[in-house]
Every structure is written in structure tokens, then in C-alpha cells.
């Protein structure tokens, strides 16, 4: 099968809308199709990766476990925008999985290299 570079871009916070969750489903399927998948978290998207989600009270399934499964699917290119973290008072230590923290410009460059950018 042809392999293409897919980047899934997340710019929305979790729970307020379903986009983050359904984006993750796309990532897992793309990985199952053995595509070259990466994820980029920008703007409020970085909140999806924040540690310690306790979603019982809002009765919506938490993301955290699924992020942990990404490695099993060989999805290891997970880019997070440094500036978006800083703006929100977060650091890489606040995130639930290991990520590559990059500058905006660096993320922009990787975006340019993609065949397909799916944004949610």
C-alpha cells in the first residue's frame, strides 16, 4: 500500500467539543493503515494532553488512556507547540505522554512536508 504522510492537527480543547476524541480515532485508523502519521498540538489543543483528567463528574470518557495507546500503534511523532504551552502556563512535565516540544516555525516546517493535513 502507498504510504503517505498524514498529520493530524489538534487546536481545540478536550470535552468542550468532541473534535479531539474523534481526531484520535482518525490517528489510530491511519496508523492501522500503516501510514506515516504524526500529530501536532497547537493553541488550545495542548490542553488535550494535560495530565490528570478526572472526567467522572461530566460523564464523558477521558482521553488519557487512549493517548497512552498511541505508542502501541507506533504513533511516536507527537509535536507540541512550545509557545502554546507557555501561553497557558504549561510545560512538557504537565503532559500525559512524552512529546516533542517544538517551536511554531519548526511545526510549520513539518506541516509543509505533509501529504495530508487533517485538522480538527
Amino acid at each position: 500500500m502507498t504510504t503517505k504522510q498524514f498529520m493530524i492537527v489538534n487546536r481545540k480543547a478536550p470535552y468542550g467539543t468532541i473534535y479531539g476524541w474523534e481526531a484520535l480515532e482518525v490517528v489510530l485508523i491511519a496508523a492501522a493503515f500503516e501510514q506515516d502519521v504524526s500529530m501536532a498540538f497547537l493553541d488550545d489543543g495542548v490542553y488535550q494532553l494535560k495530565k490528570g483528567h478526572q472526567t467522572k463528574g461530566i460523564e464523558i470518557k477521558a482521553f488519557e488512556k487512549t493517548f497512552g495507546a498511541l505508542e502501541d500503534y507506533d504513533v511516536t511523532k507527537i509535536y507540541v507547540d512550545q509557545e502554546s504551552l507557555t501561553e497557558r502556563g504549561l510545560t512538557a512535565d504537565d503532559l500525559t505522554i512524552a512529546v516533542e516540544v517544538l517551536s511554531r516555525a519548526e511545526i510549520g516546517k513539518r506541516m509543509e512536508e505533509q501529504d495530508i493535513v487533517l485538522s480538527f
Binding site: K4, F6, E22, V26, I29, S119, F120
Partner: protein
């Protein structure tokens, strides 16, 4: 050139589906091909045949149907998103023990893999959402 289109919003609330439709029309008018239109998130609501807008408003569902029939378009509704939102075809009705179907022709319900396949097969994939 082969295009694929992803529609991530439902009709009427967001302009996204209008833009996607007009874009799709323009793609075909320019002599390009549309490999697939994939409906995800609330985009699955574009596929309910029960939509009944006022007579002086556009019928977004019928408009997709007409475009698809005239151009032999493959219009795919994501099964997981459809199940969450109650978009049902015959197979889904039987599988999930429902008492009705509401999927418009010629939409079909299938897996998310169809979106990835569209990305692989098409030269361009454009996302319309909010």
C-alpha cells in the same frame, strides 16, 4: 486531478457544508475528479433523508444527493460518528435492533478507513469544518 473532501459539520448551523458543496461543484466543473466525500463528526447529519427545510431555503441533503447522482460520487458517512448521532441504514438498523432507517440515497455508511483511503488515493484532500 483527484480530490477528496472531508465534511466535519452538519447542515444549516455552520456554513462549512455549504462551502464544501460549492467547492465540490467547482472541482467537477473544472474537470477534476472527486474520489470521495467523507462525512465525519456532525457532518453525518448531511445524510439524513428526513431533512425538511422551509421551501425557500436550500435543501442541503437533496443537493448532495443530486450532485452525487449526476456525477457518480462516492459519499461515505463514518459509521462510528453515525451510530453516535443516529444516522441509520438498513444494515445498521438490523445490527443494532433499531426500528427505522434515515440514510439518504446514495450515501453509504462505512468505516473511518475510507477517509484514510481517500487521503491515500486522492491527490488533494480538503477539510471543511468549524
Amino acid at each position: 486531478m483527484k480530490f477528496a473532501i472531508l465534511v466535519s459539520e452538519g447542515p444549516y448551523t455552520h456554513q462549512a457544508t455549504d462551502t464544501a458543496f460549492l467547492f465540490a461543484q467547482a472541482v467537477l466543473a473544472k474537470g477534476h475528479e472527486i474520489f470521495r466525500v467523507f462525512f465525519y463528526h456532525d457532518g453525518v447529519y448531511n445524510a439524513t433523508r428526513l431533512t425538511t427545510p422551509p421551501q425557500d431555503d436550500r435543501n442541503i441533503v437533496k443537493r448532495w444527493t443530486k450532485l452525487a447522482e449526476e456525477n457518480n460520487l462516492d459519499m461515505v458517512v463514518c459509521v462510528a460518528a453515525a451510530q453516535r448521532r443516529g444516522i441509520v441504514d438498513d444494515g445498521e438498523m438490523k445490527r443494532n435492533g433499531k426500528d427505522a432507517t434515515n440514510l439518504a440515497e446514495p450515501f453509504r455508511i462505512s468505516g473511518l478507513g475510507q477517509l484514510i483511503e481517500a487521503g491515500i488515493q486522492a491527490d488533494r484532500l480538503v477539510v471543511f469544518g468549524d
